[in-house]
């Protein structure tokens, strides 16, 4: 009889404690520090502006540009088709469906690369897979795509070919190469991304 009372008290006590303790909603980090270091050093998350320009011109539907800057900056100028997720909102549930999916490849960008990289690291630590960073950010984008420098006439052929491509791209994006306004703002609606159901294993059976 005594042991029953003891057990009752233990269960009630543990239950009472857990009833009043706030739930632990912190998600443990998915990557260890050394895994993270490997990823950062390998640099596989970086997308070169030339690649991005090609995809944008091809209207590749499998990429999603995400502007990490503040909404003011976003309103002033952003890349075609980009959505705005200011870095301070990166953990909001509202954006989880955009950041954590395997349908489109997200390309994060900011003015430089710091903000975008910060956002990317957070998303990696949350275990999200499909996020990349625009190499050099908008600054490098402007430098390479919108205002490409003409290479020396003695440059190797591929340099000149690259320049030709960039000049064309610059015209496409309304850069200075065709002497038009460089702030072509396109209002873009948020594209809808269906959240992929995570496949989980089904353990069955009871007693």
């Amino acid at each position: 009889m005594i042991s029953r009372i003891k057990l009752t008290v233990i269960f009630l006590g543990l239950g009472l404690i857990i009833a009043f303790v706030p739930e632990n909603t912190t998600k443990p980090y998915r990557l260890t520090a050394s895994e993270m270091l490997d990823e950062v050093q390998y640099g596989s998350e970086l997308i070169h502006p030339d690649e991005l320009a090609e995809w944008l011109i091809d209207k590749d539907p499998s990429i999603q540009l995400i502007d990490i800057r503040s909404s003011d900056e976003f309103e002033k100028f952003h890349l075609i088709g980009a959505i705005n997720i200011p870095i301070n909102q990166i953990l909001d549930d509202e954006w989880a469906d955009y950041l954590d999916q395997d349908i489109k490849m997200n390309i994060l960008y900011s003015n430089g690369t710091t903000l975008a990289h910060e956002a990317w690291m957070i998303s990696r630590q949350l275990g999200y897979e499909n996020n990349t960073v625009l190499m050099g950010g908008l600054n490098y984008w402007t430098e390479t795509i919108l205002n490409p420098n003409k290479p020396e006439s003695t440059s190797p052929d591929d340099e000149i070919a690259k320049y030709e491509f960039r000049k064309g791209a610059s015209q496409y994006f309304g850069g200075s190469a065709n002497a038009q306004s460089s702030s072509k703002v396109s209002k873009s609606k948020k594209p809808i991304i269906k959240r992929r159901k995570k496949k989980k294993k089904v353990p069955d059976g009871s007693c």
Partner: protein, 196 residues
């Protein structure tokens, strides 16, 4: 840290080994607790032996407390734990069929295998019945699919339905379990059987 396999702390191959070890342990405990006796199992419905009720509710409460405390200490990520999806009608009708089988046969699926393993003929017949049931369910599935899939509620938890925290729900389940144990023991005294 946990769950260990989805977090890739240990390899997927361990799944089978762990399942095997847990299965052996589960069978051992069932047998030790006398659950391979159909009379003992049926006793819970007649009120003369309620040990089944006690064992399963104690297990449930222990599991709930364990998971919540593990989560509290950061040992397990509860968002990665599989929650069985609820198909309401399936659950109700399946529950009735299972309950009827429980009373008539005197075993539940796990204990029947356990009892068959120690050589009880009635349990072997019961396991045969389970096989027939599985086979006919599979064959009839196209006919009953709409019923099977009806009232899909998703992966709901009771705490979400009641709008309280998981901890509070656990506490109420503990209280409910204790009250049930108390009533069940009154029943044990009221409907005693000498030998079974």
């Amino acid at each position: 840290m946990g769950p260990l396999i989805p977090q890739e702390v240990i390899g997927e191959g361990w799944n089978f080994f762990i399942a095997f070890a847990v299965g052996i342990g589960f069978g051992f405990v069932l047998e030790q607790a006398g659950f391979s006796s159909s009379r003992k199992l049926a006793g819970v419905f007649y009120g003369y032996d309620v040990v089944v009720l006690k064992v399963f509710f104690t297990a449930a409460v222990t599991g709930m407390l364990g998971l919540l405390y593990f989560s509290l200490f950061g040992w397990i990520d509860l968002s990665m734990i599989w929650v069985n999806p609820t198909y309401l009608w399936s659950a109700i009708i399946g529950g009735i069929i299972m309950g009827a089988g429980f009373i008539i046969g005197g075993f539940c699926p796990g204990t029947s295998v356990c009892a068959a393993a120690i050589g009880k003929i009635d349990a072997m017949v019961f396991v045969g019945g389970i096989a027939i049931g599985i086979f006919s369910f599979g064959e009839l599935y196209p006919m009953i699919k709409s019923l099977y899939m009806a009232e899909y509620l998703g992966q709901v938890k009771l705490s979400k339905i009641f709008g309280i925290s998981q901890g509070a729900l656990t506490f109420f389940v503990i209280i409910a379990a204790l009250i049930m144990f108390w009533i069940a023991e009154i029943a044990e005294k009221k409907f005693p059987r000498e030998e079974y």
